[in-house]
């Protein structure tokens, strides 16, 4: 089973420019969020979180019912629903559709779901051109990289990186002014919007009682991709459902605020099928692809299915001290940060990255800001148990378990525990008054002690433990 990418961690931690970029960008997002969920700005913030959690719980506990309702509503509005087990089936469907409609060019709205299934790579293999139209994703696509953050794909890049990239890939003159870079992207992409055959989006929400797809965007590319091409295909995980259009009054108040500190993003689109008779523009064909890709497996766990409540706001990433240090590319999958740490093991299996649930100090900042109140620390702890069970057979797993069994045995025998403590005190005694210990002799510098001392000093063990001091104290008082 793969070990944690220690070398990459160290590289990231030592990269001062990257550390600064990630820390300040996430810091800004945290500050923006704080302003708009403050009690004087959104007094019912906590109540909304409870409501959102309850709505998601109800939906997922009854997902079969809502999926059926959603499908019949989409059909009633002239759209089509395509059920896909995995990314391969999605790509197959799109390839077939493109062939049928003689389509060559697809324009895409930012969609983490499409990243999850590596859609663009699949489409490329089928000879189709799929262009990312969200500025951040456009940049990531040019780089042939992976998004750095669920909401801000190019969080790790500076304007100089972008300038370099645009010159290399688009042939434009070097220009590190973000306004100019944006204009360049706008010009390139406008051509694509106007000539694309198929617009592909994700969905922030699927509305069961309407058969609608809700998109929440800022740039306008979401509207472009779902208005100009003749065909709109929305790809969404089955967990994106909400029961009623009216429930959006709760969710829309939480999503933008939690993600970017915006009470509403610039464009909130409620898309309900192909254009109606009399409507002048809009797609002529409307498809919703419902993707499983392991979600039903997550759903099967009554407790951890809460992971699927996620709105993909990215707040947990912004507040996570670990994400802010190691950044988005050190996670094993497209979903990074705290949500990634509980979603990836459940969707890929714990063996894919057994170290992942342990890469957390369990500080709980994520759960505190999650708009749908997912108890991320609780699930990290559960996943840790599952990893240990999976590692039962391998050498390191057995050694560690033995270690804890020995520890537990010692803790159940207070006299022996005390004796062990006294032995330790004899070894790690105070050398200089008030000074902590900087290094220990080589034979002792192993395992957890070595790991600790690679970064910090250790205290000298006191000559007498509390219980010994207490006995003396009690004796003295007795006199």
């Amino acid at each position: 089973m793969p070990a944690a990418p220690e070398t990459q961690f160290r590289e990231t931690l030592n990269n001062a420019a990257l550390q600064n970029a990630v820390y300040s960008a996430t810091g800004r997002l945290m500050d923006k969020r704080k302003l708009v969920v403050a009690p004087d700005v959104l007094p019912d913030y906590q109540e909304l979180r409870d409501q959102a959690h309850a709505l998601k719980k109800h939906t997922l506990d009854n997902l079969d019912h809502y999926l059926e309702q959603f499908e019949s509503c989409v059909l009633a509005r002239g759209g089509k629903v395509v059920w896909c087990k995995d990314g391969g089936e999605v790509a197959e469907f799109l390839a077939r559709l493109a062939k049928e409609k003689d389509a060559r060019l697809l324009v895409k709205v930012k969609s983490m779901t499409s990243e999850e299934i590596e859609l663009n790579e699949h489409l490329e293999r089928e000879g189709l051109e799929a262009v990312e139209s969200d500025l951040g994703e456009f940049i990531v696509q040019l780089r042939r990289g992976r998004p750095y953050h669920i909401v801000a794909p190019a969080l790790d890049l500076t304007r100089y990186d972008v300038a370099e990239l645009f010159t290399q890939k688009l042939g434009v003159d070097q220009d590190d002014v973000p306004e100019h870079q944006t204009q360049t992207a706008r010009a390139v992409l406008r051509q694509k919007f106007l000539s694309a055959d198929i617009g592909v989006s994700g969905a922030n929400f699927l509305v069961a009682d309407s058969g609608a797809v809700v998109l929440v965007t800022n740039e306008g590319n979401g509207r472009m991709c779902t208005t100009l091409p003749k065909i709109h295909v929305a790809i969404a995980g089955i967990e994106k459902l909400v029961p009623r259009a009216q429930d959006l009054a709760v969710f829309l108040k939480l999503l933008g605020r939690s993600a970017t500190g915006q009470p509403l993003t610039v464009y909130t689109s409620f898309l309900n099928g192909p254009r109606r008779p009399g409507e002048i523009d809009g797609p002529e064909e409307f498809y919703v692809v419902l993707l499983d890709n392991g979600r039903t497996r997550v759903l099967a766990d009554r407790e951890k299915r809460e992971t699927l409540y996620c709105l993909r706001c990215g707040a947990c990433l912004n507040h996570c001290p670990i994400y802010r240090k190691i950044g988005g590319h050190n996670y094993p999958w497209v979903y990074s940060g705290p949500i990634g740490a509980i979603l990836s093991p459940q969707m890929l299996g714990v063996q894919a990255a057994p170290w992942l649930p342990f890469a957390s100090s369990l500080c709980g900042a994520c759960a505190e800001v999650c708009p749908v109140k997912i108890d991320i620390p609780k699930f990290l702890l559960q996943l840790r148990s599952e990893v240990n069970k999976a590692k039962r057979r391998d050498r390191q797993g057995r050694l560690e378990r033995l270690g804890f069994q020995a520890w537990a045995w010692l803790m159940r025998h207070p006299k022996l525990y005390e004796a062990a403590g006294a032995m330790g005190a004899a070894v790690f005694s105070e050398q200089e008054p008030g000074r902590w210990i900087r290094s220990v002799p080589a034979p002792m510098n192993v395992g957890p002690l070595r790991a600790w001392m690679s970064e910090r000093d250790i205290p000298p063990l006191p000559a007498r433990s509390f219980r010994q001091l207490w006995r003396e104290r009690t004796r003295k008082k007795g006199r």
């Binding site: 931690l13 900042a365 803790m411 790991a451 690679s454 509390f466």
Partner: protein, 241 residues
């Protein structure tokens, strides 16, 4: 007849920072309590629980319950150990009806040290004196599970001679996280240095908090960096006279 409280000092205080336990006892005695130390206690089981070894954690938790049974009040000078008991024991014993029943009457009697002073003893001024500038670190479990935030600051505000300086990153995790500190030492160390930067900006000579494990991490990093800032548990400051 004065009220008896049982001290659950926690393994880390017992073995590494016994002065914290003594200080907690002194403060409680000053307030008129009779302090007991049930000797059978060792650890609450958190290290095993957090590392994913629930069976082992349960064994140690049983010992902890047995040792503290019958106490009218259990006072714990640690936010994370107190919340291990009050917030996670039920999950550990979910399948054990007898223990679950025991927990119903036991859990309400378990108090983190600062909360005991404010909510049971109902005092803010414990008659302490401590000269110097002090900054407070909000330990994660205490902050988010026990809602410990304003309380210790109120207690510190009554300490004569003490200047309380707020650090910008008071609520940011110190990077200890139990076995996280040794499984991911590079990240843990980087987090501690972030915290230290924030501490230095306050100009305070002392960092305090309700969790000795956080203070172990912070002092270890301060010492490694050769910085003179010292760490003291809240109990030690409140015991100072």
């Amino acid at each position: 007849m004065s009220t008896r409280v049982s001290l659950f000092v926690t393994c880390i205080v017992d073995q590494l920072f016994p002065e914290v336990g003594i200080a907690a006892a002194e403060v409680l005695e000053r307030l008129g309590y009779e302090v007991e130390f049930p000797e059978d206690q060792t650890c609450c089981g958190q290290p095993a629980f957090n590392t994913g070894y629930r069976a082992e954690a349960r064994e140690v938790a049983c010992r902890c319950l047995d040792a503290l049974r019958g106490a009218e009040y259990v006072v714990v000078p640690s936010g994370s150990c107190a919340s291990m008991i009050t917030h996670h024991y039920e999950e550990l014993f979910a399948k054990d009806p007898a223990r679950m029943e025991e927990l119903q009457s036991f859990l309400p009697r378990v108090w983190e040290f600062s909360k005991f002073l404010l909510e049971v003893a109902k005092v803010e001024d414990v008659g302490a004196r401590f000269e110097g500038a002090v900054t407070f670190h909000d330990s994660c479990h205490g902050l988010r599970e026990l809602h410990i935030k304003e309380g210790p600051r109120r207690l510190l505000s009554k300490v004569r001679g003490l200047t309380l300086c707020e650090m910008e990153l008071a609520e940011e995790c110190c990077g200890f996280g139990g076995t996280f500190s040794v499984k991911f030492p590079g990240i843990s160390g980087a987090m501690s240095r972030n915290k230290i930067d924030s501490i230095l900006k306050t100009g305070a000579g002392t960092v305090t908090g309700v969790d000795a494990s956080c203070l172990l991490q912070l002092r270890g990093a301060l010492s490694r960096a050769g910085l003179p800032v010292q760490t003291m548990h809240l109990a030690q400051i409140l015991a100072s006279q």
